[in-house]
Amino acid sequence: MSSTRTTPPSPAGTRRSVRRPGDRVFAGTAKGAGILILVILAGVAAFLVVEAVPALTAPAEDIPGESGLASYVAPLVFGTLLAAVIALLVATPLAVAIALFIGYYAPRRMAQGLGYLVDLLAAIPSIVYGFWGIFWLAPKLVPFYEWLERNLGFIPLFAGPASTTGRTMLTAGLVLAVMILPIVSAISREVFLQVPSLHREAALALGATRWEMIRMAVLPYGRSGVIGGAMLGLGRALGETMAVAIVLSVSGGITFNLISSGNPSTIAANIALEFPESSGIDINTLIASGLALFVITLAVNMLARAIVNRRADFSGAN
């Protein structure tokens, strides 16, 4: 008989108890599934690296453009960041306003339904956004771009010449903004809902107007959550492929001109456009650019999660 009085009480201290075979198998399977997640993620990185290596070691003239991998990828990285930043700048304030509307302005009974409408934007496939962007949004923006060129042409961003099709970097950014709107607004909504009602009521009891209450109690409390949500949106925008591939008219390198028809492509869109017709070292090059995208989005997402999770620790929701 194993009386624990004789065994020294270790800090963990638990007796190894009998486990049935069924339990052991089931627990093992569950653990295996969990570990498989780690393996998949590691596999994504590993296989991309393996397939990217030929491009990394190839002589510069073998890479498309014939001036090396770095100068092939650089404009793509630039285009990716530019489109995503435009999307972020447009979407974040809008998403916060929408979250406030649903949380604090819309009539109670309608709020849930309205929230569902915004979520519908997230359900629409990205290819359909591409269709909408090129056929509906882009032509509608042409007069606006012409106006920008006429009146604000002295700003390099709007130097023109304005695209006659509307398939510009700004259009792509706006389509991306619509696409990331639901996730940013959903996370903002979530944090705003967690603002303790005591804080809000205290503000109102002091005679604050609704906006003053929001400025005093809601926004400071939700700030880091909104930042995290925006970062997640940024991650989405960076990796978004089809909408950009369809909407953006690609020709040219790095430029800040947002309304002309000569734009750098984005990494993801470039892969989608080039991959089906590529072979040999070109494919390795595309995979290398994909690896760069993977690293960028991974960094952004990890940062975003760290921000969101740190906030969750403070809110006491767990």
Partner: protein, 361 residues
């Protein structure tokens, strides 16, 4: 829309008024409405002068109306109330603005896609089609097969991972997996496609295109969604039920399989359906792993397959001459895709409503 909220709620703004005792005057409830109506009339009158279109008309009306409300409130109630009104107008406009893409997109897809939503579209492929006619039978079947395969791969892995996280895992491993699942939700879909390609290219040589590759790529995207939703739902199962089962001498694994999962089944069904909706419209990973065909291929382990999103993409971007027929097919494919996604969303809501555990209370 909900301009009612623009009007001051009696409780909202009356509180400070009597206390201050200096501002007895208030803007009547109908005034903001009147301001916007007036703005509409003014802008409407200027329509011929400014060469307006409907979008600009709405824009000018909203700007002018907001300005009028602000100035009116400022002169009558003071700047604090005026700023409050101003923000209300802005917030409502923001929501209205967000509805513009949704409405225009649905309208655009439906009006352009409805024309070819006919029998031919659903029961013929593109073999031998140059101009008119043809359909997406092969692409629809491809999408169904790939989605089914993806679900078959993702649901067991995702569900078991969720079970592990909720019922077994503890400490550092749990934190690591939770974090990486979060990170995995952020993998760009094109990267998932490249991963599947790289995986198969290493073993089968470059240029390989298979249905199963697409399913694996989509699984990378779907698994984290399934884990997340299943985890949330399993956490909702009360501990009392687990304890009741243990106390009957039921081993832990049987408790999970026969008590915990059945109790959570409605939520799990909803989560899986939404996860399917999420991947069914994915284009980029399928574009580089499956390619496209004109003929029907139902074997996911043999060569290229057509899928609905990729079909739509190629019909739009490489329409042939004259382009009209292919473009029409592309829009119809987009319409079918939207119907599919929305349908799955509705099904998910229905599951959660009708299959929730029956409670007599």
């Amino acid at each position: 829309m909900s301009q009612t909220s623009t009007a001051p709620a009696p409780t909202g703004s009356s509180a400070p008024t009597p206390r201050r005792g200096e501002r007895a005057r208030r803007v009547p409830n109908w005034a903001p409405w009147a301001a916007f109506a007036g703005a509409a009339v003014v802008v409407g009158a200027l329509w011929p002068l400014l060469d307006l279109n409907i979008a600009l008309f709405v824009l000018y009306t909203v700007v002018l109306g907001t300005l009028a409300v602000y100035l009116l409130t400022r002169s009558v109630e003071g700047s604090r109330q005026a700023i409050d009104r101003l923000v209300t107008c802005l917030v409502v406009s923001a929501f209205g603005l967000a509805m513009v893409p949704l409405v225009s997109l649905v309208w655009e897809v439906v009006s352009r896609g409805i024309g070819r939503l006919d029998g031919t579209f659903f029961n013929s492929s593109l073999v031998g089609i140059v101009g008119e006619g043809g359909g997406a039978y092969h692409a629809i079947m491809g999408t169904l097969i790939i989605t089914a395969l993806t679900t078959l791969i993702s649901v067991p892995i995702g569900l078991m991972t969720a079970v592990f996280l909720v019922e077994y895992a503890r400490g550092r491993l749990k934190r690591a997996i939770t974090f990486l699942v979060d990170v995995m939700t952020g993998i760009p879909s094109i990267v998932a496609g490249l991963f599947a390609y790289a995986l198969f290219a290493i073993f089968l040589g470059p240029g390989v295109r298979l249905g199963i590759m697409g399913a694996i790529a989509l699984s990378v995207l779907m698994i984290p969604v399934v884990v997340r939703s299943a985890e949330e739902v399993l956490k909702l199962v009360p501990n009392e039920l687990r304890e009741a089962s243990y106390a009957l001498g039921v081993p832990k694994w049987r408790t999970i399989v026969k008590v915990v999962i059945p109790t959570a089944i409605a939520g799990l069904g909803t989560g899986v359906t939404l996860a399917i909706a999420r991947v069914v419209g994915e284009t980029a990973p399928l574009l580089i792993t499956l390619g496209i065909t004109t003929a029907t291929n139902l074997n996911a382990f043999d060569g290229r397959m057509a899928t609905l999103p990729v079909y739509a993409y190629y019909q739009l971007t490489q329409p042939g001459v004259p382009p009209q027929f292919a473009t029409d097919r592309a829009w119809t494919a987009a319409l079918v895709l939207i119907i599919l996604v929305m349908g799955l969303n509705v099904v998910a809501r229905l599951i959660s409503r009708f299959f929730a555990p029956k409670s007599g209370r």
